[in-house]
Symmetry: none
Subunit: 191 residues, 4 copies
């Protein structure tokens, strides 16, 4: 029996992300993805149940990857502002190393299709340390009394949007922009 080829699955995922970034989910047809991934359209269906399933699986994968990158080096003992800043920089670093994945994630962040993905068990577990770090900040009276969604909305979302916009013009963030955005985000969430 022929062996399942993990490389093939990766190639398909990469092709899909690339195409979805450039022409959108509906524009990225199965046959186009197949062509880019250098497989037959039918082959895609041996790795994913259908197009929507593919999107979902890729989204969860990228989201998990990003979460892990974000939390790299985060330590309960870290000073709150320093920890927050670390994550802020990690986000930027990740986006620069994985710009395609990053753009892909951004595109679907607010898509109804993936709305309930957050309830993915594994993903929840990965995010746990972030949550407790924030909680600590609130207990120390350093951060405002807000749920984690708000942290995302003011700390991560604006910078993500900017990165995405720069990417569209094939530009990169300047040091100045990073500093400004961190300052604004920090002011928004700190007490």
């Amino acid at each position: 029996m022929r062996q399942s080829d993990e490389n093939k699955k990766i190639a398909i995922g990469k092709a899909a992300i690339q195409l979805i970034n450039s022409v959108g989910f509906d524009g990225a047809s199965i046959s186009k993805i197949a062509k880019v991934a250098n497989v037959s359209p039918a082959t895609i269906y041996t790795y994913f149940e259908n197009k929507e399933d593919m999107l979902l699986k890729l989204y969860v994968m990228v989201k998990k990857e990003l979460a892990i990158a974000l939390l790299q080096g985060l330590d309960e003992s870290l000073d709150i502002k320093k920890g927050i800043h670390l994550m802020f920089e990690s986000l930027i670093a990740y986006s620069e190393k994985n710009i395609e994945s990053f753009a892909f994630k951004e595109q679907f962040a607010n898509c109804p299709l993936v709305a309930n993905v957050c309830e993915d068990e594994e993903l929840r577990a990965v995010i746990e340390p972030l949550k407790s770090f924030i909680e600590k900040g609130k207990r120390q009276n350093i951060l405002k009394e807000v749920s984690i969604e708000y942290i995302g909305a003011y700390l991560f979302h604006p910078i993500s949007t900017l990165i995405k916009r720069k990417y569209a013009h094939q530009e990169k963030l300047t040091e100045e922009e990073k500093n400004l955005m961190f300052a604004m985000g920090w002011d928004a969430i700190r007490k």
Copy 2:
């Protein structure tokens, strides 16, 4: 009696926005839109060059409408924080009165198709008062030295996202949420 021309155009626009909100741009086919608007598919082409043109025109229209609503009552003589707060409340008020248009605008805010729409001449003009109000705030040393995009990113974007999410669950903003978000946004942009 056959409806007059302008009514027909409005009916098409409304149908398109409704459908795009519920099934996405690609899901909202010309013939479906035509059916909802009670016209022939061919008729749509007497009002718009093609589907993409339709999206663009509707987007600009809504964006302008929103900009006008936002600036309603804004006066150069107004205290900076009060002016900012006024716009913040106007945004919410608009979204509650025009939830379909609002959701439509949000859906395409980050779509490459409409990326260059900001350069629409008329739109630029409408936004002018906002710009000069912000400039005043900076001159008065009340606001941070940031371009207008950042104001949007911290003051309008997070609340818009929340409204959209609430809308998806058919909920509404609470007074508490509004206050919190204004506080965070204001802290982000003020000096």
Copy 3:
């Protein structure tokens, strides 16, 4: 506005029946039918909702046509055996003039897809005279006390099967075969 073209619908129906006869329902793909009918595949969908709807509509049409042919000349005052023989001959005559339609009907006579077609209102009405003729035969103590389905099963079904088989070999019924089959059918149903 372009006029609906009845010829086109007929061409599609004819092509469909022809193809279904020679390669079966599943073998007769929409695109093959379109090619034979000399229209675009999409055009078929302006005349029929979908493939199944097409089959059903064609089946009802043919069935009605056949029923009308069968009852041609049937008169309540006719002698029972003569009336039965008239229908028997009409069936053969119809099959010889409309062999494609006839074969098509036969193919689907027992197909679950069209099982409930008999309940088609119009069809029911068309068949009414046949029913009352049979009833008369039973009242006159000439025919066995059986429901109309049995009449079909012994009088019409065997001859239809034979016609179909002959058609497959491009042959025709002989006078002898006709006589024999009428005799057998008549003996089966008469008292």
Copy 4:
């Protein structure tokens, strides 16, 4: 423990017949059959040359099985009418014990694909006793001078159709129906 080869072939045949009965020949895809039979799609090709070959082999198999059942107990010395009746009852008995096989056979009785199967050598041999029994009936001047096909058409076909129809509604034949149909069939073929 892996099932033995012959079991596997039987499992495939059973799965195929089942599926073909419920979704038709084209609806019963090789991979679906494989799933039901609990084998790999490729395995099916070690037992059958291709899908059509599978249908044919299964059809001949069932047909032979039925023929054997039909002739069980038939004896040259038997009274003609009794012998005919015996076969009639055997047909019913077989159909009730092997409803899936029976329905399968019926479905393809008139399919062009299997048209020439009757010329299968073995099958011919099995049917021989039936033929000579009929010949005897003709010689005794009890049966009409008709070929064996006509016996089938009037004696076996109508009852088969009724069984099939009942099966579709998950009903069974009543004693009354059996008697009536035998009477009609017998009247049709007897002199």
